[in-house]
């Protein structure tokens, strides 16, 4: 319990917040990594997922990819890219995209695929083109699942970004590994608590977004 108080005091110390190595900077870095990694993954994964969901082609590949990604050890990807691309931000960023992509892809295709076939048939019967079926029916109805996929991708990157400090990236993981190296447990604990808080807040924000993303007609409750 003493450690916990020390850790909270560490976080509460106003002197630790400003500056290039301050908590504010590291928190911003951590969020920025997650946002950039997920945005790049979205730019690739969402169109691909929609295409797979709409045409039902390559479904096996998409399912296999998201399954295989679960077996892929994050730390392995981070260290491999760390060696290949050198210490710095490029390696971790590639790792974030690689690890975020399967969730985004799965969310995009699962969302489109889960749309009631009667709604799709109805849209076609009323004369919509394929593009209209996709953009006006399948995408809006599949939005909650897509947001769910982006949500797990974002959390995955928050977790990976913590590990990425091991290969020299910034973010809150810096404090954790600094504490580990100097046997400063309160600092490690403080860093961990900050990451946990960040992850929980982001998860709750995405949970709210997921509810808002459902079109009014199919919203639960």
């Amino acid at each position: 319990m003493n450690y916990l108080l020390d850790a909270l005091a560490w976080i509460a110390d106003p002197a630790r917040w400003p500056g290039p190595d301050g908590i504010a900077t590291r928190l911003g870095e951590h969020l920025a990594y997650s946002a950039v990694g997920v945005l790049i993954a979205c730019a690739i994964g969402i169109p691909a997922g929609w295409l797979v969901g709409h045409t039902r082609r390559g479904r096996g590949l998409a399912v296999g990819l998201s399954g295989a990604a679960r077996a892929l050890p994050t730390l392995g990807v981070v260290t491999l890219l760390g060696i290949l691309l050198g210490i710095g931000l490029v390696g971790p960023l590639v790792a974030f995209v690689v690890l975020a992509l399967p969730s985004v892809l799965a969310g995009a295709y699962a969302g489109v695929e889960a749309v009631d076939p009667q709604a799709v048939d109805g849209a076609r019967a009323s004369g919509m083109t394929e593009a209209q079926v996709l953009t006006r029916v399948e995408i809006p109805l599949g939005l909650p699942l897509l947001v769910g996929g982006v949500r797990s991708a974002f959390l995955q990157v928050i977790a990976t970004a913590t590990l990425a400090a091991y290969v020299g990236a910034g973010g809150l993981g810096r404090y954790l590994f600094l504490g580990l190296k100097t046997q400063d447990y309160p600092q490690m604990l403080a860093a961990s608590l900050l990451v946990v808080a960040l992850a929980l807040v982001c998860d709750l924000v995405f949970a709210a977004l997921q509810r808002v993303a459902a079109p009014a007609g199919v919203r639960p409750h």
Binding site: M1, P73, L75, G107, G149, A199
Partner: protein, 225 residues
């Protein structure tokens, strides 16, 4: 390949430590999730905390949890028990909602029939409810197994031996072969355990041949690192 041939004993040792860290959480979370899932269905006021709590817990990244947990359970940070408890909790976070869902979807007519035949409650649960929920439970367990095997590696940055040591050693000394071996061995181990679970499923649930839909429902939930 040369590297692997020269370090076979090291890799073997890490593989063994890895197994010892990965198997208990998979078993424990499965065994604990069934009563927890049953409770979530039966005790109304427990349902929301159990299911929402599971979802929220799953959002917590693994490395911070490995660091925070010793303060709560009173272990040392390099204690392997930490990893086992943390990974059991992750397994539960995934498995409790699956178990609750699986048990609730058991055909009520089958349950009624068993009751009418005079099955005592426990025997009905073990003989009717559980096997009928089996396919969905197996799908959840496979996800737990694969993500647990992958998550064990994270402990290596804290100095807890597992295949993850091949990542940290490889990175420190710049040996790509070590990292690649680690990734290959971890994925292979996950696939072997997954394959064994599928075989166990075929043996214990011989009437199932097709994957239940729970797999698809879980596809959008990636594993936390």
């Amino acid at each position: 390949m040369n590297w692997l041939a020269n370090n076979l004993d090291v890799v073997g040792g890490h593989l063994l430590s890895h197994l010892l860290l990965a198997v208990p959480p998979i078993v424990f979370s499965f065994l604990l999730a069934i009563p927890a899932g049953w409770l979530a269905n039966r005790v109304r006021w427990l349902r929301a905390p159990l299911l929402t709590g599971a979802g929220l817990f799953y959002a917590i990244p693994s490395l911070p949890l490995f660091v925070v947990l010793p303060v709560i359970i009173g272990t040392g940070i390099r204690d392997p028990l930490n990893i086992v408890v943390a990974l059991t909790l992750y397994g539960l976070a995934l498995m409790v909602p699956v178990a609750a869902d699986a048990l609730r979807q058991v055909d009520a007519r089958a349950v009624d029939a068993a009751d009418a035949l005079g099955y005592p409650p426990l025997r009905r649960f073990l003989g009717v409810d559980l096997p009928l929920a089996g396919p969905a439970l197996l799908a959840g367990l496979r996800v737990v197994a694969v993500s647990t095997v992958s998550l064990v590696t994270v402990g290596a940055v804290l100095g807890i031996p597992s295949l993850g040591m091949l990542f940290t050693d490889g990175f420190q000394r710049g040996i790509i072969a070590s990292v690649l071996t680690g990734i290959g061995a971890t994925v292979a181990l996950a696939l072997v355990i997954d394959g064994l679970l599928v075989l166990a499923g075929r043996a214990l649930l011989p009437w199932t041949r097709r994957a239940p839909r729970t797999e698809a429902a879980l596809a959008t939930r990636g594993a936390g690192a």
